[in-house]
């Protein structure tokens, strides 16, 4: 008898299990699984959404052809440059801020709030604000350089020169992501056991020595988390060049993601865009697998 109740409960659990999962899976299937499969198929075709009625299968040719597209190669190069500079600066700055906040007790609420505030500002708005501050004629940046620092020769059209345009893209990305990375580093710092720190003090390690020999080596896990996060973020950079520079001047800030977007929704070359999207996915997947492996090691 008891056994019977038990099994009917199990049965009921199974039924509710399915009922609870089906709606979510319908969403995920329709808007992720199916598009992924469809896109994979399209990546082996030639398909212009405006001119071609149906996709034409061309096999791997698309995957070879995209590497003959100089803009694609350039977009890989730009993404790489962006990623390296962004990652190095983001790690150094957010680790430094986290250390400062970790030791700081006064006005902590103010410092934390102002550093974390950009997290809630949509990145496209941040780009509008940066674009405005970088404006050649009435932007804040040139004003400060010209009238506050009194160095008029340094003023320029920040978004119309290749190197400074890239610098602005990196700047706005840093502005938007350092708060987040700082929180991760703070989490890492709080995870260091107080025993280790106290032992170091007993051994006579002073402030700087404590940071260099005890704290920094103990943040290894956090470097992995933040580093991979930064790499994935850099590979997917899109909104910043789209809003701030439209990929320009020339193609100086054209990222891979933006090149894919342009091919799909400006030239409507869906086949080619899908091919490039899968090349990007392969790179992202590589880092995600690395992330999983490093995470499971600890």
């Amino acid at each position: 008898m008891k056994n019977n109740i038990f099994t009917s409960r199990e049965k009921s659990k199974r039924i509710w299990g399915v009922l609870f999962v089906v709606p979510s899976f319908a969403f995920i299937f329709l808007f992720m699984v199916y598009p992924l499969v469809h896109s994979f198929y399209l990546s082996f075709t030639k398909y212009n959404f405006v001119f071609d009625r149906t996709p034409t299968f061309i096999g791997f040719r698309g995957y070879i052809d995209i590497f003959k597209d100089p803009e694609f190669i350039l977009s890989i190069k730009n993404t790489f440059v962006f990623g390296v500079v962004f990652l190095v600066l983001a790690m150094i700055i957010s680790l430094s801020i986290a250390l400062m906040l970790y030791f700081n007790t006064r006005f902590a609420w103010f410092f934390r709030s102002s550093i974390f505030m950009p997290i809630v500002v949509p990145i496209s708005f941040a780009c509008i604000l940066f674009g405005w501050m970088a404006n050649e004629n009435f932007g804040l940046l040139n004003y400060i350089i010209r009238d506050v620092l009194n160095q008029p020769q340094w003023t320029r059209g920040w978004l119309t020169e290749p190197n400074t345009a890239m610098a602005m893209i990196i700047g706005v990305t840093l502005w938007g992501s350092i708060g987040f990375l700082t929180i991760l580093f703070l989490g890492g710092l709080q995870g260091i056991s107080t025993d280790i720190l106290e032992a170091a003090i007993v051994d006579g390690a002073n402030g700087w020595k404590r940071i260099i020999f005890i704290i920094l080596p103990n943040l290894r896990e956090t470097y992995v988390i933040t580093g991979i996060w930064g790499i994935l973020k850099a590979l997917k950079v899109f909104v910043q060049p789209k809003v701030l520079t439209e990929g320009g001047p020339g193609n100086a800030t054209l990222s891979m993601y933006m090149h894919i977007y342009n091919n799909a929704f400006v030239y409507f070359d869906m086949g080619k865009a899908a091919t490039m999207a899968f090349v990007l996915s392969a790179i992202i997947l590589l880092f995600s697998i690395l992330n999983l492996r490093l995470n499971s090691e600890k």
Partner: protein
């Protein structure tokens, strides 16, 4: 010692200013007169504070109110759907055995490693065929779908933390499976629910990529895309600043109210990468 203190605090101050300047500057500019905005001489504080920019938005800028409405509808409906779906599916993945459960969780987490760029093309074609391009619904659906894998994962974790005994005692008291979930488990998992709500709110409110592809008509755009198109169309920087300030009020309220949860949520979110 004193000097190093001073250096330390000035450095923190400079960093804080860097993060605050864009927001404060646009706040201050939104109270400036038009002449002042375009003058070569920039002052931080408005010389003749005016509400003209805000008036412009509410009187002549009926479009702005429409964008705000789009953002609100998409976000509110999206957050509600995401929360309901992830707290049901999350419970199933944590506590209700069904065939292929573990495999499915792994599969879902694998799917989100793909960038939206891959999904965008078929979603665009599908939306075109379903005739939901340029509608709020057309943005709600893909937003919810792309949030679900991660939010289900969060809710699964929240339910897993609840001791099995609590569930067993509800069962002995005669609660059905559904009632156990609704009346016993869901209230205990409220931390997870709050994280899901905040996270999905920020993501949808600021979402740009789906919006810029699937809402190309001005009337269907949410704020995140619409405001980027305003450069030099009678919307001077004062009005644009005012529009941005109004548009970040909802996320900032949530930020101030839930700062504590936000931080723990982000640390949990780091797993996603």
């Amino acid at each position: 010692m004193k000097v190093s203190r001073l250096v330390f605090y000035s450095l923190l101050m400079i960093i804080s200013v860097f993060f605050l300047v864009p927001i404060i500057y646009s706040l201050l500019t939104s109270f400036k007169t038009e002449q002042e905005i375009f003058s070569k001489l920039i002052t931080l504080l408005p010389r003749n504070p005016t509400l003209a920019s805000y008036k412009y938005i509410f009187q002549r800028g009926a479009v702005y109110i429409n964008w705000f409405k789009n953002s609100t509808v998409i976000t509110v409906v999206g957050v509600i759907l995401t929360t309901i779906l992830s707290s049901t599916a999350g419970y199933a993945f944590a506590r209700l055995p069904f065939k292929g459960r573990e495999l499915m969780m792994v599969f879902i987490l694998f799917i989100i490693t793909f960038p939206v760029a891959v999904l965008l093309i078929p979603i665009y074609i599908m939306s075109y065929e379903l005739d939901i391009l340029n509608t709020n619904l057309g943005l709600i659906l893909p937003n919810v779908a792309s949030l679900l894998p991660f939010t289900i994962f969060i809710m699964r974790g929240a339910f897993k933390l609840i001791p099995q005994e609590i569930e067993d005692s509800a069962e002995i008291d005669g609660c059905s499976v559904f009632m156990t979930w609704l009346k016993v488990m869901l209230p205990i998992a409220n931390n997870g629910i709050i994280i899901v709500i905040i996270y999905s709110f920020y993501v949808i409110w600021g979402e740009y990529i789906f919006a810029v592809t699937l809402a190309t008509q001005e009337s269907a755009m949410p704020l995140s895309v619409a405001l980027t198109l305003l450069k030099g169309e009678g919307w001077n920087y004062g009005v644009l600043g005012a529009a941005i300030i109004l548009s970040i009020i909802p996320p900032i309220i949530i930020f101030l109210a839930f700062q504590k949860y936000l931080v723990s949520g982000i640390i949990k979110g780091a797993i996603k990468g």
